[in-house]
């Protein structure tokens, strides 16, 4: 996302020349500061996001134990100074596993969101711009996807494509497809006859060039909000799939599968095995949901609730 595109609200971007008196970066910062001051929760969620991103980036290098190393002399130990989050039934350090798992969960979510952003975004703006058959076909595809309970469809897709992490990414992307199509279609449709589009057409630009060079950059802010709103759902969905045993294979640290592994210990009272990965998952999803709301306030003040 470029900084200039962030300053444009949808209303302003419909006109070709938003009046910008200040240098763009300055006004973005000022606006961002205003939003954070207005709603400190957004600031908090941004701080959380930085922590999660750091865990994903450098997590494997800073954890105190090898996340895969089992230790039969220290199985199922309660949280202590040595093992902050305790150990599991194989004596692996849960803190290390939770931190290392961040990267995999993060990558699954980002990959699926990036995929649906490209596919759903392009399908949506084409549908909204060309209308006619393109619109009907894209609409029919999204309607069919929406006819399924989404998690159930994801299960079916992973079952059919094969039980791998890549297919979890694909399934998560597919079930989010209608959401992206709807937003992109509506935004592109509004701008279809906008002044700047007509100007571009008069200067001899072809349809595809207008779509990619003129309309797409203008709807980027809205799409970014959509991305952060669906990131949380993507993480939840992927963790849910791995909780029921799809995708990620056992020794790999991943939040969903770690909760599943700890599920049997819950009944005998060893709560920490499932609790910490579950809490990490919850915090990550919470953070993305808040961040999405905050980003929407920043980009699209009219939709604030």
């Amino acid at each position: 996302m470029t900084e200039t595109s962030l300053t444009m609200t949808p209303a302003a971007s419909a006109q070709p020349n938003p009046p910008v008196n200040l240098p763009p970066s300055n006004s973005v910062l000022r606006h961002a500061r205003y939003v954070v001051e207005e709603n400190p929760v957004t600031g908090l969620s941004f701080a959380l996001f930085v922590i999660i991103a750091l865990c994903a980036l450098i997590g494997p290098y800073i954890v105190p134990y090898d996340p895969l190393a089992s230790n039969t002399t220290a199985t199922l130990q309660a949280p202590s100074l040595h093992h902050w989050f305790g150990t599991d039934q194989l004596g692996r350090d849960i803190f290390s596993r939770v931190v290392v798992a961040t990267r995999l969960d993060f990558v699954i979510a980002i990959a699926s969101v990036a995929m649906v952003f490209v596919l759903g975004g392009l399908a949506g703006i084409s549908a909204g711009f060309f209308l006619g058959w393109t619109d009907r076909i894209v609409g029919r595809i999204s309607d069919t996807i929406m006819a399924f309970p989404l998690f159930v469809l994801a299960m079916g897709i992973v079952a059919a494509l094969g039980n791998t992490v890549t297919n979890i990414v694909i399934a998560t992307a597919i079930i989010n497809f209608p959401l992206y199509v709807r937003v992109a279609r509506a935004e592109a449709n509004v701008r279809r006859e906008a002044g700047f589009v007509q100007a571009a057409r008069l200067s001899g630009n072809g349809d595809f060039r207008i779509l990619l060079m003129h309309i797409l950059p203008n709807i980027m802010p809205i799409m970014m909000v959509q991305i952060s709103l669906t990131m949380g759902y993507a993480i939840l969905n992927a963790a849910g799939l791995s909780f029921i045993g799809l995708g990620v294979k056992p020794p790999t640290p991943e939040w969903g599968i770690m909760v599943a592994e700890g599920a049997t210990n819950i009944i005998s009272g060893e709560w920490w095995v499932a609790f910490f990965p579950g809490a990490a998952l919850m915090i990550a999803v919470f953070c993305f949901n808040l961040l999405g709301d905050g980003l929407r306030d920043l980009v699209d003040p009219q939709r604030r609730t």
């Binding site: 069919t144 994801a154 059919a160 949380g232 029921i244 045993g245 009944i267 999803v285 949901n289």
Partner: protein, 337 residues
């Protein structure tokens, strides 16, 4: 009214066709050999070839599709590999367990979320409004399997209030005679209160888990739509005419505010039917979700396909029901149709 229903039923047809095509495609066109899936992991090349012939996979695709639709029309969902039993009978016998759980979860969540949303809107900015906001944000962030496990730990292990999560009934209680398939209703019908209590005890935790999950969208929507209705002119007129606030809120505002909430129920059902699978796994609930999960892990594809199709058809039917409910609540919808 009948004409409206008929008209709406016709619009459902393309959706159903889409659903059937997708469930068919899930096995046939995607990469990998469906015969290998159906044969299971321990199959020899010979048995795979046999299965391919038996399933008609050596035929052209449209013919396979016609055969699939024909099978479905005769209620034949194929056979499970691991148990050898027909998928259709298994799903029909397990469906009431899932339905009972999901419906109780939904009822619980409506009973909590709607009043919460109304109070939050009426007393905007009060503690109940903040509570509503916290519930709405936290509810969508909680992984449903995690909430379920937390409940098991607190209410079973720590407090001992709820029974072990081992299914629909305690180990020493027998299932009531099958009338509706819903243990709560069946046990009441035959007057067996011990079974009723045992079944309710087993149901309460998973149903609450589902309710916590689906609370958020309902509460949020109730609050938002109540707020906009309360700000409208007819409410102001009603207030100005001297009606007491109880009448204004319940009779005037509430009914109008319910329309968007009923619409949200469609989305809530999509979440609930998915979350149901996870909750069934956590509580060892013998429903169709856990059936599908078991089959999935054994690469037994026929039950999964049957499950996806059943869920999709159920979901389409529920959406249809919601549309009709909409007509019941709002006379304007009836007039337009």
């Amino acid at each position: 009214m009948l004409a409206t229903i008929a008209k709406r039923l016709v619009t459902v047809l393309p959706t159903l066709v889409g659903v059937v095509i997708v469930t068919f495609l899930l096995t046939r066109v995607l990469p990998g050999d469906p015969a290998v899936y159906f044969a299971g992991p321990a199959a020899t090349p010979q048995s795979i070839a046999e299965i391919r012939k038996g399933l008609g996979l050596d035929r052209p695709l449209p013919e396979q599709f016609a055969r699939y639709v024909n099978d479905l029309a005769h209620g034949n969902f194929g056979n499970s590999l691991s148990t050898g039993r027909p998928v259709a009978t298994e799903i029909t016998s397990r469906l009431p367990a899932s339905a009972e759980l999901t419906l109780l979860g939904l009822i619980l969540s409506i009973v909590i979320a709607v009043p919460l949303g109304i109070f939050a809107a009426v007393k905007q900015g009060s503690w109940i409004d903040h509570l509503c906001r916290i519930v709405a944000t936290a509810g969508v962030s909680l992984p449903v399997f995690f909430t379920g496990l937390l409940f098991v730990y607190i209410f079973y292990f720590k407090l001992g209030w709820s029974p072990a999560p081992i299914g629909r009934l305690d180990a020493f209680t027998t299932a009531p005679r099958n009338i509706t398939g819903f243990y709560l209703i069946d046990s009441l019908l035959i007057g067996n209160f011990e079974t009723f209590r045992s079944s309710l005890g087993q149901l309460i935790l998973p149903a609450t888990t589902l309710a916590v999950f689906s609370l958020a969208p309902i509460a949020r929507m109730t609050r938002a739509s109540m707020l906009s209705v309360l700000a409208s002119e007819f409410v102001r007129t009603a207030r100005a005419s001297g009606l007491d606030s109880r009448t204004v809120i319940i009779t005037y505002a509430f009914r109008n505010a319910m329309l968007p909430v009923v619409t949200t129920l469609g989305m809530v059902f999509s979440f609930l039917l998915g979350a149901n699978v996870l909750v069934e796994k956590v509580f060892a609930w013998p429903g169709i979700g856990s059936y599908a999960v078991e089959a999935l892990l054994q690469s037994d594809f026929a039950p999964v396909q049957g499950f996806v199709l059943t869920m999709a058809v159920l979901y389409v039917a529920l959406n249809l029901l919601i549309d009709m409910l909409y007509g019941v609540i709002d006379p304007r919808v009836r007039l337009e149709a």
